[in-house]
Symmetry: C2
Subunit: 334 residues, 2 copies
């Protein structure tokens, strides 16, 4: 039964029923008695206004789109969970799209989502900018907020780590613990986030007077395959680095796998510090020292920025290190 039918049943107009049900009784001065009657009948027959009708009328679906590169990555899963929960408090739902780290797919999905009447979009992009993607975002009338691997200089508010600081943080931790040959498994070099993190690492190294050996830098994307081959290249280089920073959550899986294959011991042969805290970080072999992001805060802020009318500025957050066993104290060389 829908609102009209209920109205008929009660000898009322759909309008009145709608008003009573939507809590606008006051505003339109529907009599308290009528409101009562409608409410009870609605309860009894399990009637509530069909959201589809409401949506068509209002032009909004009451739903926001969430586009992530890999829901299987626990960072994004956690983000998704927080976002869904937060939105629920605001009576909104979530459409989930996973681009599988593929920029072309991402562009298609974005296009598709923009064509639906979503109330807004939360995008955690692949990070590789395409003209298509950029244009679609910039010309969108839909509220959008970009997260994590943000693409810079788009006219869209963003929430992200201070990635160069985070890169520095990781590198400085390694330097402080006596490492001298520091390598880096990057994600996609075209991603701003990756470049920023890498810049932080480079700067810290330069400040300490170290040179970067290009053999120790690798990685060509955020996929599993790219991480594995990149990690293999680094760990198989000669001389081998005495520490490697994994700049992404996927990266650490590549390093762990490559180390296993090449029988490189962590942390005896090389220390590892990994971006993104994971539920299993403490149970890895060895327990991983990680750079952790304030995931929940990101989610909450993202939702707020879409739900609140006030357009806030972009947000930059700080990372922090969780120390465990994958970084070994090295003696200083003479």
């Amino acid at each position: 039964m829908n609102v009209s039918e209920l109205a008929q049943h009660l000898n009322l107009s759909p309008t009145t029923v709608s008003r009573a049900l939507s809590g606008q009784g006051e505003k339109y001065r529907v009599s308290a008695a009528t409101v009562q009657r409608v409410r009870q009948a609605a309860e009894k027959f399990h009637v509530s206004p069909d959201p589809l009708g409401t949506s068509l009328r209002s032009g909004k679906l009451g739903m926001i789109g969430l586009l992530v590169p890999d829901i299987t990555n626990s960072f994004f899963a956690q983000l998704a969970r927080c976002i869904e929960l937060e939105l629920r408090q605001h009576g909104m739902t979530v459409q989930l799209c996973d681009s599988n780290e593929d920029a072309a797919v991402e562009a298609k999905l974005l296009q598709q989502m923009l064509g639906r009447r979503l109330n807004g979009l939360i995008i955690a992009p692949v990070g590789r900018t395409s003209a298509e993607f950029t244009r679609a975002i910039e010309s969108s009338p839909m509220p959008i907020i970009m997260l994590d691997r943000i693409v810079p200089h788009l006219n869209v508010p963003t929430i992200s780590l201070d990635n160069v600081a985070a890169g520095r943080l990781a590198a400085e931790h390694l330097i402080k613990t006596g490492h001298q040959r520091i390598g880096c498994l990057r994600g996609d070099h075209e991603s701003f986030t990756d470049r920023q993190r890498f810049r932080g690492v480079t700067e810290a190294l330069a400040d300490a007077g170290f040179e970067m050996n290009s053999d120790w830098i690798s990685g060509s994307g955020y996929t599993q395959a790219a991480s594995l081959t990149g990690a293999g290249a680094i760990l198989d280089s000669d001389p081998r680095p005495d520490a490697v920073i994994a700049l992404s959550g996927q990266g650490i899986l590549g390093i762990l796998e490559a180390a296993q294959e090449l029988r490189v011991r962590i942390p005896e042969d090389v220390s590892i510090i990994a971006f993104d805290e994971q539920p299993w970080s403490s149970f890895a072999n060895p327990p991983l020292t990680t750079v952790s992001q304030p995931t929940q805060q990101m989610a909450v802020e993202a939702v707020n920025s879409l739900v609140e009318p006030t357009s806030r500025p972009s947000l930059v957050l700080g990372a922090n290190i969780i120390e465990r066993k994958s970084v070994q104290l090295r003696k200083a060389l003479e």
Copy 2:
């Protein structure tokens, strides 16, 4: 610009434009020339029919609801990803809901989803049956399929592991490798899946002539906290089991954490076999022997059963063991 406006622009009726765009030109014998003209104009002005209008007309949202207990659990994340991808091939999208292992929340979310005009529901339930949940499911006119922690005897097709066989598989593997004191970290005892898996374990043990020590059985839910305390109880018992089976993906995290706290060595002190393969299973300390589910197949079958008109029967799939290092060969006792 929408279909009507485009029609106006072309001096056509919305009807014709709609037909041309929807590929029904043939059927209604719209002239090929007109179809061409419409298509080109649509391309030029980036016009495509508003899905919201279509939905209202057809009564379907072109979207299926996916309800999981914990998207942060990599099993469900993988499921979600496959499902989204598969549905996309059919031109459908996904609404994601996460009940956070809370049956009350689950019931609310279910209710809410049933009220929207989704094309169907894929539910991976918490597993704890509530009258509300059951009633909602059974009286639903919406196609539903239930996955993984199915609740039995509802009038809904299901896709699940042969859980007693899977439980047996795990227990028999342990028996074969010489274990005599086999414990079990359960999930929610009210969940059918948990009971089935546990039954499999019990049967295998009985067949081998072992007794079950109730000190070695614990676990009171799928949450992190429950897993941890349950695992602690088992590993702290005296005598301690020489092997324990984690009946859920969350459970293994509890065991690993408890073992760390209690300084119980795996596999020297106790062997572990864990349900659900995870991306990091090989990199845990020690690499985990797991019982693996055919996740992708589950996803594909779930989608098919909603998309295809033919109502298929419930599906029961087989698990298999992936052997790694968390199970140690024990000498038989005299």
